[in-house]
């Protein structure tokens, strides 16, 4: 079977899988960003308790394996009366895990804004929320965009693990095709190429575009 014939036969399934992978990646990215923003800000709170909660969250989700977390969410939570379908469990697991890494990027990004910016905002009598929203965040976001690009690529690749809780994503399809044809090189090689294309042709340009856009608003570009 030539590779062209292989693609003709299984192309549609790769497309279906890729679509599921994309949906998983987009949904868990949104979740990860929301968690990262919340936990990153909580890590900087002056209230000890708030800081402690965020620190525990980050330590737990960064310190334990994503795969184990996925199994927990999918297989163990139902035992406590929280049944989740595998699709939702996948988004939750990947989003919560990468959100913990993102929280550290948010914290670092905020801390990278020079102290003088806070002081100028105080001198202009801005409220604590106003300082964060109008002065610190716009600068912090620009500083943290490059590491976020890396993290989102990491997240996309991390979604491959949801195949292990039977989400029919790209990796899941590749395994199925391998199982029925034993054409491992083609089956997994195609998946590799598709992951690469998604990272290189979707995430990287998107991040670069955001960076240019924000730099221009800073009058730098």
């Amino acid at each position: 079977m030539s590779y062209l014939e292989f693609l003709e036969e299984f192309g549609a399934r790769y497309l279906d899988g890729s679509l599921i992978t994309l949906i998983q990646a987009v949904c868990s990215s949104i979740l990860a960003i929301a968690i990262a923003a919340t936990m990153g800000l909580m890590r900087l709170s002056h209230l000890w308790g708030v800081r402690a909660i965020a620190t525990c969250y980050v330590e737990f989700f960064r310190g334990t394996s994503l795969l184990v977390q996925l199994y927990w969410i999918y297989y163990v939570l139902p035992l406590f009366g929280v049944p989740l379908d595998n699709f939702t469990a996948g988004i939750l697991g990947v989003g919560m895990n990468l959100g913990a890494y993102g929280a550290e990027l948010v914290r670092g990004g905020i801390q990278s804004v020079p102290r003088g910016q806070y002081e100028a905002a105080i001198a202009l009598n801005m409220s604590p929320i106003g300082r964060m929203r109008r002065v610190i965040m716009p600068q912090a976001i620009l500083n943290m965009l490059p590491p976020w690009g890396t993290l989102l690529i990491e997240l996309l690749k991390g979604t491959a693990l949801v195949s292990l809780i039977s989400v029919a994503d790209l990796m899941f399809e590749a395994k199925q095709i391998n199982g029925s044809t034993y054409l491992s090189a083609q089956a997994f090689g195609t998946a590799l190429v598709i992951y690469y294309i998604m990272a290189r042709l979707i995430i990287t340009p998107l991040m670069r575009w955001s960076e240019t856009l924000l730099s221009r608003r800073m009058g730098r570009a």
């Binding site: 910016q117 001198a123 202009l124 009598n125 600068q139 009058g219 730098r220």
Partner: protein, 274 residues
Amino acid sequence: MTVAIDKDAAAAPAPTAGQPMVRFEKVTKRYGNLVVLDQLDLDVAPNEIVSIIGPSGSGKTTVLRMLMTLEEINDGVIYVDGEPLTHMQRGGKLMRADQRHLRRLRANIGMVFQHFNLFPHMTALGNCIEAPVHVLGMPKAEAVQRAEELLEMVGLKDKMHQHPSRLSGGQQQRVAIARALAMRPKVLLFDEVTSALDPEVIGEVLNVIRDLATQHSLTMLMVTHQMGFAKEISHRVCFFYEGKIAEQGPPGELFGNPQNERTRQFLSAVLDAG
């Protein structure tokens, strides 16, 4: 209180007698064991222009930073326009100020920084309307009009749509002055505002401050290394040494006939170097 006005500063509005605009009462600031300010007493009258000079590490900048609430004080009370800044009256007792109290009193004070601290993601105009619109709730059109007037006053109306990264240091500092004035403070603090500037642009910033001093009723506290400028525009000069005011008086007297040995040493050192 009144302060004798030096001849050189005759053009500036005279300080008003009565309740001081700013009062430091036995204010102490420590960093660990290091005492930066030691039981400082200082009164500044409305419309008075006070320059603070002294060697580095003498606590000059700390005075301004405490007044702007950028540093907490360890002991004593600061009053602004008769009200305690860092404390508030609650049920007859003096307690630590909350955010609301701080923001109400902070509205009286503006500050210009050594390193300008303009917001890099906003244009010169954006910097000047940000707080009037979002803090004072001024309609945008009105804020823009006022910002344009202020930028014109500092000679930068043609640069108002530029971001700080496109402006020289002197221009950035003039925008920063306009930005502080846009909030209509009663007290304006200048923290070594020319120290980060190239020598050839110091003059343009000093000119703006000179205009402010002579044409506006504004209480000004200025930490500076520009002795000639301090002499020219101040009503009073305070020489700080090791966390205390070692000597103070009208500029003519302090520069012309310093009484304190430390003042003499400091002045001869900086005037030789200058």
